[in-house]
Symmetry: D2
Subunit: 214 residues, 4 copies
């Protein structure tokens, strides 16, 4: 299972979270990565943890003031990027452009989607994975695997119907190892989570709990 921790713009010590993740990663078969803010990518990558961006723009080198270039993200040591997170939704054509930009720069991609139909749509653009996150569950602490397990199953089916190589991650409300196991049982290959780790008093303990049952 892939455990991708989105640190958002939380008031956390993201380097401490990153070091915890790197240490826990060595003790488990799970794969753990941290997605910090753009300005923190280099510092997080220096810890040795697998580092992801939270967003890239559908652009190339050139005149793009204030935008996030895939190549610059890759230069920091990051290896992947979220695209179209519910807090940063993109136009369809720009998701397509961002997936292509990531591919060009050698970044892995997880495109976020709200439901099964959007998961199928995102899968048609050829990312590595789609994270299905019903917006109404984000930040609630209620895992989608409990609140609405069908949405995960339907998303897995929708992605597979479009492109068998596109994996599905389960987002929204993941906070325990049981949630991760449930997500896997429903066909997800990983989880996307945020506050459960990034805002935990003890991020290392939170990560250890998450991967313990795997």
């Amino acid at each position: 299972m892939f455990v991708l921790v989105n640190a958002k713009t939380y008031p956390c010590d993201v380097v401490e979270v990153a070091e915890a993740a790197r240490e826990v990663n060595e003790t488990t078969d799970a794969r753990i990565a941290i997605a910090p803010q753009a300005a923190e990518l280099a510092a997080v990558a220096e810890t040795g943890v697998e580092t992801w961006a939270q967003h890239i723009d559908p652009i190339e080198y050139g005149s793009n003031t204030g935008h996030t270039l895939a190549e610059t993200v890759a230069d920091t040591g990051a290896v992947g990027t979220l695209i179209n997170h519910s807090e940063n939704r993109l136009k369809l054509a720009d998701i397509d452009g961002s997936v292509q930009a990531a591919e060009r720069a050698g970044l892995e991609t997880v495109v976020c989607a709200n439901n099964a139909a959007q998961t199928g749509a995102a899968a048609a653009l050829g990312p590595n994975a789609v994270a299905v996150e019903p917006p109404e569950l984000i930040g609630t602490g209620t895992p989608v695997s409990q609140a609405d397990p069908d949405i995960v199953k339907d998303a897995v089916a929708a992605a597979a119907a479009v492109d068998e190589d596109v994996e599905v991650l389960c987002g929204a409300g993941i906070s325990t190892g049981d949630d991760v196991v449930s997500a896997g049982d429903l066909g997800a290959k990983g989880v996307l989570l945020a506050s459960g780790v990034a805002k935990a008093d003890d991020p290392k303990a939170a990560l250890e709990d998450l991967v313990a049952p795997l």
Copy 2:
């Protein structure tokens, strides 16, 4: 074949174009519709021509100042709507919401897309049709069926792979009856065009030429 004429915000007499379309429609097996600006929907629908909106928003009745509500569009007599035109691109989640809003109001939907991958993505959201329009050909007078026939074939295949009920229209550069025939030969069930009719000196003659070979 479905011939959908997008009148954009051209300086044309859209009621005259609508009346021409209604008259030509009676002489052919093709199906002709006109998409005027929102403020002109009622006047165009009154001519008796099949009337489409150029855009709707992913909203319900409520506090949405300056937005286009599917139900209000339907109340004017319009029966369908474009969504995500390249001059009005939407976020993925908003295309999804707009398709659902149109369905709720009983409007047919044509979602626009730039290429085959986006056509597959749009098809996953369940519209009636997807119009594939490579942005670089819009307004050039060079039909996509000549400039890049594979993009139409690929789009037809991409839509069919996701949902066999979703038809493909061919946009960008259509101006003659031969272009319409070529589009049909490549698997398209219709064409989306604009200046070729809406800016023609004689819109009726332009439409007659378009449907003559059908």
Copy 3:
């Protein structure tokens, strides 16, 4: 005092509201106008009431699918337009472009703003008026003149400091004639309101109450 009723996308009979407004307008020194959805502009203008658009785009005649052209709005019989309503916020450059487009088409303009600083900014772009509407009060029924009278005074001062010809309207939470009087006492030349009239069981009675103390 100018009483501008924004009908949003409420499920109201906007023509009935318009007729009520026209009738009440004849009985008072106040000036009453109705802002319906774009697709309803012509039907509202036909009632003879002063008609405003809820939004225009910063465009000219041309290729602008799904956008609202100032000239087309004027052709329906509308004489003014809201710009940058809090439910339809625009980029600074696009507010500038929209004010210019309205001027070109002979439409009056009311630019919306959240606070005194933004009122000054909007005034610098040369509209006829700025409507100050603290977002947290919109739809609450608590008039800004009660909840935060200083914001109205500060907005009037901010506009006057930039351009003495730019009037200030008071929005958010207006529902009674006393609210209108209070707004005037604070220096506003009118009010922008919505649900208090457009969603009233008896729009005519609601308007009569609003203008009674004037």
Copy 4:
């Protein structure tokens, strides 16, 4: 004079540009700063050059995936930020929110504007400075001080009329020391430039030329 170099997403070695700027800064009364991409802020700040962000978002600590937080920018060592660059235009309310966010985090602000009216509008929001950059001149190599000197004078007057503490920078087409001198003669307190330094074969020589006549 303030010389602010926007490195955009150019394929340049921004640390080399930063080191050149730091060295030239020690030889002149001018004040030189570099604005790199967010992911490069820390590396640029480490060179000791004055470092600016290209953009911040109107947000606070919290759930804002993929956005740029003023506090995180300040934590890298940056001391200022561009806002509303023509390649990254913001809504009026978001310029206001971004200026407030910068102030909260202790960052200086330069808001970009296209013309004198927008310069006045931006000045009303209380930034440290406004950079006037006619979009049609950006990247042309034709300095606004030559192509349209009145726009600079008008912008200086518009800002001063609104708030005497808001300075004006001159952008678009600056590439020589004479351009900088001309900008100062027109009332500008600095220049905003990009390719002339960031894409120069020898950034240090380019900067030396720029500040030589000061």
